[in-house]
Amino acid sequence: MNYWFIINDMRVGPLTLEEVDRMDITPMTPAWRDGLPDWVMARDIPEVATILLAKGYDLGTGYRKPQPSPQPEPQYQQYQQQGWNPMQARYAQFAPQAASRQPMEPCPPSYLLWSILSTILCCTPLGIVAIIFSAKVSSAYSSGDMAKARKMSSRAQLFIILAIVLGLISVPVSIICSAL
């Protein structure tokens, strides 16, 4: 059985259960296992929950308990009976595609902050091009085209760098022009 986790926005996996034991995961870490329809919390996978309980986590609160509970098993069942899964809504964007049956990676950065900065401070039309590429990142991602999203993200990055470099070059040029 293989396991995947999303730790710090990065997909980690496939891991065996022994490797999961060594990972730094909490009960709230988004997790996925072969055969599951969607991402769940780590505590929703029984064998991972057992590992977490052994590490002294409280499955209800998600925090480490002061002392390990002597009888951890009933607590997990109690949680399971509640039957709700807030992760499903929160991490719906990472949901695996039905066709590929592989968990999807987080959206690549759109660099909107840098696009705006380069537009306002560098006085070149290149920043506006970067904003357009920023916009295309998340629309490509939400349509499931990961490769295109990555391409648009790196293009936005390229135009931001070009705008900043051109803006920096323009400073001495401008000074020389006004001196003439």
Binding site: L112, I120, V173, S174, I175
Partner: protein, 127 residues
């Protein structure tokens, strides 16, 4: 990937450069001192979306918000938004929804429309 040591150095360099820039713009008024002029404006005669940013920055650092708005309305309006965006980027683990909505397509296209609209309007009414 950038190595952690290089990353720290880069971060220190950026912080130093920004601090130096703020000191320069806080001390000297670009309206009276010969600061580098926008190349776009020099070449085309039109004002770019960023024109007036240097004077607006000086006014902001002096605490004169109304003068900053007069020099460049877009910069004054964009600063709070960019601060929120920076916060959302740093704390995207804690607020994944906020981060997703602020960097999503809608936000980007809206930004594009505002920048282009502002450029057209400021050149027509010369503000």
């Amino acid at each position: 990937m950038i190595r952690p040591a290089t990353r720290t150095l880069l971060l220190i360099a950026i912080i130093l450069a920004v601090t130096a820039g703020l000191v320069v713009y806080g001390t000297f008024d670009p309206a009276t001192y010969p600061f580098p002029q926008c190349v776009f404006r020099r070449l085309t005669g039109y004002e770019c979306p960023g024109c007036g940013s240097q004077r607006a920055l000086h006014a902001l650092l002096k605490g004169d918000i109304s003068r900053a708005v007069g020099y460049n309305l877009l910069l004054a309006a964009a600063l709070p938004f960019m601060a929120l965006l920076a916060y959302a980027t740093v704390a995207k683990q804690r607020h994944p929804r906020l981060y997703a909505s602020l960097t999503g397509s809608t936000a980007c296209y809206l930004t594009f429309a505002i920048v282009v609209g502002w450029t057209i309007i400021r050149n027509i009414f010369s503000i």
